[in-house]
């Protein structure tokens, strides 16, 4: 194998599995260390720079970082990254003074953001400190978009949304136009904005098409519309027996909300199997914990009603069959149909993007799914001054993706407005810093905790089912948070190898607790090399770190997969050929400043 190229930040970035998996590439181990040190405000600011909504995301993020977490491979469960983020938000002190100031002197450019969801708000936050005059439009009375209208209050209190939206809209530079639905992009362009960002989400719920649907319409609701009505307090109760259709997170929010508004027998019915449901495992768990059964492999067949009064739904039993190409088909199992009585049905079977307000004669191109044609990196549409992000760009994803889009779009808009090439992307900010403090002493806590994942305390179930607003999760207290934070392996503290210093004494090989280091003759083929290492390197998604130039002609091969980043290789290295260096990466934004926000 060729020696590993360390000149690009990508290699070490990938080693930090959580940060690599995060769409916004938040420096996770950095803020987790700050939490374990009790520096909650600093931890919050690292997050705020990167993902804009730490308090919101700490309760609601889809957490792609956690399945990626190395801890989940060396023992049973990943670090509770998401809930630690909430700890930073819950325990922080004053943060306003640390945020990038908004200049009084404007740069003369005006930007419109359509929709006040996470993507638009991120664009506004990133552009306002540069002197842009940002105008945010939303049809609702408050900012937050989906975070406010769709996510139930028992998961995300309103005060948290108001606070974090406020950090963007109340510091100057951003003018909000709430209660203002944008009905024409043409009209918006005519107002002379230098750039327009479309972050209006994916606002249309997919409907059900079975016999009886139309007749019983009074008690059949689209999930996202129903959730919004609950959030706006237009709806305060639901029937005793409720069926929720769909297997995504929206379905989970619907069933749990229904349970709190009078639904005593709430049932989730899903076409597919339990494992393939789109909902996050923890959201399924939370629903079941509240006494909500999830029934799988049932396809809606008919709505039964008596003169328009909803009575029940009939489902066909199906099973999964795989064709020659491995594609799954749901085919009738031949078992008798299942009939479930109900007073209300909530349909949460997916969302579609809808852009009825974008005129088709203004030069914007759409793909065959009705989504705008975009450059995937710059998020620029075929009308150069119009950019997209969030669910409006590539269909429904989640908050953290919306934030990531927002950062990229802000960079694009800034470059576009300054007459620079939008496709030329700025480099991320990367810092490598040595962790050695003395002989055998490191500036990070290299002791590896053997604690298993700590459970987040929950409110008493009977109590929390009584109110739609009572938050179910109480969050870690400081001591639990410190212990959970200690489970983090500090994957950003990298093992860096200097061939010229190595005397091939094997000290690192002997001490490594996970058998990750091997000195061996080199091989052309990576797959072959992987089989010759000290412990099996079977996870091919994880890189091998290869260094050549040793006196014996062998190569040093380190399998990154199971490395605990305990620093023992460096501690037992007599010549300093191994060093522990902290890798800090902040994605390129209009203003990079995560480190500037930390207290000294």
């Amino acid at each position: 194998m060729k020696p590993t190229d360390l000149s690009s930040p990508t290699y070490f970035h990938k080693v930090v599995d959580c940060q690599w998996a995060c769409p916004a590439h938040t420096p996770v181990p950095e803020y987790i260390r700050l939490i374990s040190a009790g520096r909650y405000t600093d931890a919050y600011m690292i997050n705020w720079q990167s993902n804009v909504f730490p308090g919101i995301l700490g309760r609601t993020c889809d957490r792609p970082c956690e399945p990626a977490c190395r801890r989940g491979r060396v023992e049973e469960e990943p670090v509770a990254i998401c809930r630690l983020k909430r700890v930073a938000a819950d325990n922080k002190d004053e943060v306003l003074s640390r945020m990038t100031p908004i200049p009084a002197q404007k740069n003369g450019k005006r930007i419109a953001c359509i929709g006040a969801g996470p993507a638009s708000l991120t664009v506004a936050r990133d552009l306002a400190p540069l002197g842009y005059d940002v105008h945010v439009y939303d049809a609702e009375a408050k900012g937050g978009g989906f975070m406010w209208s769709q996510i139930p209050r028992f998961r995300l209190p309103e005060s948290v949304i108001d606070e974090e939206v406020g950090y963007i809209t109340n510091r100057g530079g951003v003018t909000t136009h709430y209660n203002t639905r944008v009905n024409s992009l043409k009209g918006m362009l005519a107002e002379g904005y230098d750039a327009v960002f479309v972050g209006c989400g994916a606002p249309r719920g997919r409907d059900l098409d079975v016999p009886g649907r139309r007749e019983a319409a009074a008690n059949i609701h689209l999930g996202i519309e129903w959730l919004a009505s609950v959030s706006f307090e237009h709806i305060e109760k639901i029937g005793r027996k409720v069926i929720v259709l769909g297997g995504g997170n929206t379905a989970m929010d619907c069933c749990r909300s229904a349970r709190r508004l009078g639904g005593e027998q709430v049932t989730v019915v899903v076409r597919s199997g339990f494992e393939e449901m789109k909902a996050s495992p923890w959201e399924k768990e939370d629903a079941m914990h509240e006494g909500i059964p999830i029934l799988n492999y049932l396809v809606p067949k008919e709505v039964l009603h008596e003169g328009g009064k909803l009575k029940a739904m009939v489902f066909e039993k199906v099973k999964a069959e795989f064709d020659a190409k491995g594609r799954r088909n749901l085919v009738p199992s031949g078992e008798p149909d299942v009939t479930i009585e109900c007073d209300d049905v909530l349909v949460a079977i997916g969302q579609e993007n809808a852009f009825p307000w974008i005129e088709r004669d203004i030069g914007m191109e759409f793909d065959r799914w009705g989504l705008p044609k975009l450059n995937e990196t710059t998020l620029q549409s075929t009308i150069p001054q119009v950019f997209f992000g969030g669910d409006a760009a590539f269909g429904p994803k989640n908050i953290i993706w919306a934030v990531a889009h927002g950062h990229e779009a802000a960079v694009s808009i800034d470059r576009f407005c300054q007459g620079q090439d939008v496709t030329a992307r700025p480099d991320p900010l990367v810092v490598m810093s040595g962790q050695k403090m003395g002989i055998h002493e490191w500036s990070y806590d290299n002791d590896v905790s053997i604690d298993l994942r700590f459970k987040v305390p929950h409110a008493d179930p009977a109590e929390s089912l009584r109110s739609i607003k009572a938050e179910v999760e109480l969050g870690y207290d400081r001591e639990l948070a410190r212990k959970e934070a200690q489970r983090c392996l500090n994957c950003d503290v990298q093992t860096v190898f200097t061939t010229q210093l190595c005397i091939e004494c094997d000290a690192c090989v002997d001490i490594c607790p996970t058998d990750s280091i091997t000195f061996t003759p080199n091989m052309e083929d990576e797959a072959a090399l992987r089989t010759t290492l000290k412990a099996p390197a079977i996870n091919t998604t994880q890189a091998l770190y290869v260094a050549d130039g040793l006196k014996t002609g062998r190569v040093m091969v380190k399998d990154e997969d199971m490395c605990l980043h305990c620093g023992l290789c460096a501690e037992r290295c007599p010549t300093g050929a191994w060093d522990m260096q902290k890798f800090f990466l902040e994605t390129a934004k209009t203003t990079n400043g995560a480190q500037a926000c930390l207290s000294r």
Binding site: R73, V74, E75, I439, H440, E441, N446, D447, V448, I450, I503, E504, C505, D506, A507, V509, D510, I511, P513, T514, D515, S516, A535, P536, I538, K551, T552, M562, L564, C566, G567, L568, E571, R572, C573, P574, T575
Partner: protein, 350 residues
């Protein structure tokens, strides 16, 4: 500084016949200087005992004083151990062995412990043929007292500060061969491929087995002019054979030309499969081995490998005709048969 190795281990680490991983045979973290050759020897012992599938409680590790003699703390923490007096490992181990012949005895010593203060003990243990594995972690200097020449330092080699050694070196391998050791090997801490099979063969040998293992002292003897540095040993290492230790009968995987491979079956049924790397070397001929070693030493080579093995080895218990049962399993009547038995014995000697 870390005192404990993290308990977390590689989840797909292989297990031996007992269901243990290699990590179950570890000890505490070494407090020797980083990069010490002794740590690689400890790792090789761990690997060997794990591969042989020996239950840790069946091993007794005994040592004297010195850097080398500290190492039993760094492997087999679940085994029996005795850190004895300087140079007295052989007599303590001999006593233990006489009392309980069921254990597997591993003596760990250094060049100071064995070739200076303990040389008498070394010599008599060898000639008595105590059933044990005797590992000398040989770095050619007194590391604990900052690098004076030891008795195994080669004449003409240079100390870290430039002094030249004027005394002749004691060659423990030559002594062991002369004193009747029945399994003699030399190896290098930086070559586990060679060292691990040598230790496995020694542990399964039913007689006295000596392994002289050159182990560079990174702090005081790893410089230009030293003959026990990583670089010097790598350059001058001449391995005479390649050893595989086979437990139970397994087919020979590769085919060898006649004479290229020999097999030696030991008392316990283990097979030492020796692939020759030097045509004229015969590891079962004691006198030839002594001649070969003397000749090649004069040529400046460090000859390594399994240098001699006598599969028909006998140990001290056989010569003394001792009881087969360990003393701790005998009852009072057997251990102390009374004055009439003593009188009878004395009468027999008059």
């Amino acid at each position: 500084m870390s005192y404990l190795k993290p308990a977390l281990k590689h989840p797909s680490l292989p297990k031996n016949a007992l269901g243990f991983t290699r990590r179950d045979y570890e000890g505490s973290i070494s407090t020797l200087c980083a990069g010490c050759g002794h740590d690689s020897i400890s790792a090789s012992i761990i690997q060997s005992v794990w591969e042989l599938g020996i239950e840790p409680h069946r091993v007794a590790k005994v040592s004297g004083i010195g850097c080398s003699s500290k190492t039993p703390d760094y492997f087999l923490s679940a085994s029996h151990g005795f850190n004895s007096v300087h140079g007295r490992m052989p007599s303590v181990l001999t006593g233990a062995n006489l009392a309980n012949r069921d254990l597997i005895y591993l003596g760990v010593s250094g060049d100071g412990d064995s070739a200076s203060i303990g040389i008498g003990q070394f010599a008599h243990l060898m000639r008595r043929g105590v059933n044990m594995t005797y590992i000398v972690e040989n770095n050619g200097v007194y590391g604990l007292t900052k690098g004076q020449f030891s008795a195994t330092s080669d004449k003409g080699s240079k100390a870290k500060k430039g002094a030249i050694n004027t005394d002749e070196a004691i060659d423990l391998v030559a002594m062991a061969l002369q004193l009747g050791a029945t399994y003699v090997g030399r190896s290098f801490s930086g070559d586990k491929q060679q060292l691990v099979p040598l230790i496995k063969g020694a542990l399964s040998h039913q007689g006295v087995a000596l392994i002289d293992c050159i182990s560079p002292c990174v702090a005081f003897n790893n410089h230009e002019g030293s003959t026990k540095s990583y670089d010097y040993v790598r350059e001058h290492n001449e391995s005479v054979n390649k050893l595989d230790v086979i437990l139970g009968r397994s087919p020979i995987a590769a085919s060898y030309a006649p004479g290229e491979m020999t097999e030696v079956t030991q008392h316990d049924g283990s097979v030492l499969r020796l692939r020759k790397l030097h045509d004229d070397y015969d590891a079962t001929d004691r006198v030839a081995a002594m001649n070969y070693l003397a000749r090649h030493k004069a040529m400046g080579e460090i000859v390594t490998g399994l240098l001699f093995v006598d599969p028909e080895a006998q140990d001290l218990h056989a010569s003394l005709g001792t009881v087969a049962t360990p003393l701790n399993q005998l009852n009072d009547a057997s251990l102390c048969p009374g004055s009439s038995a003593l009188e009878k014995l004395n009468a027999g000697l008059r």
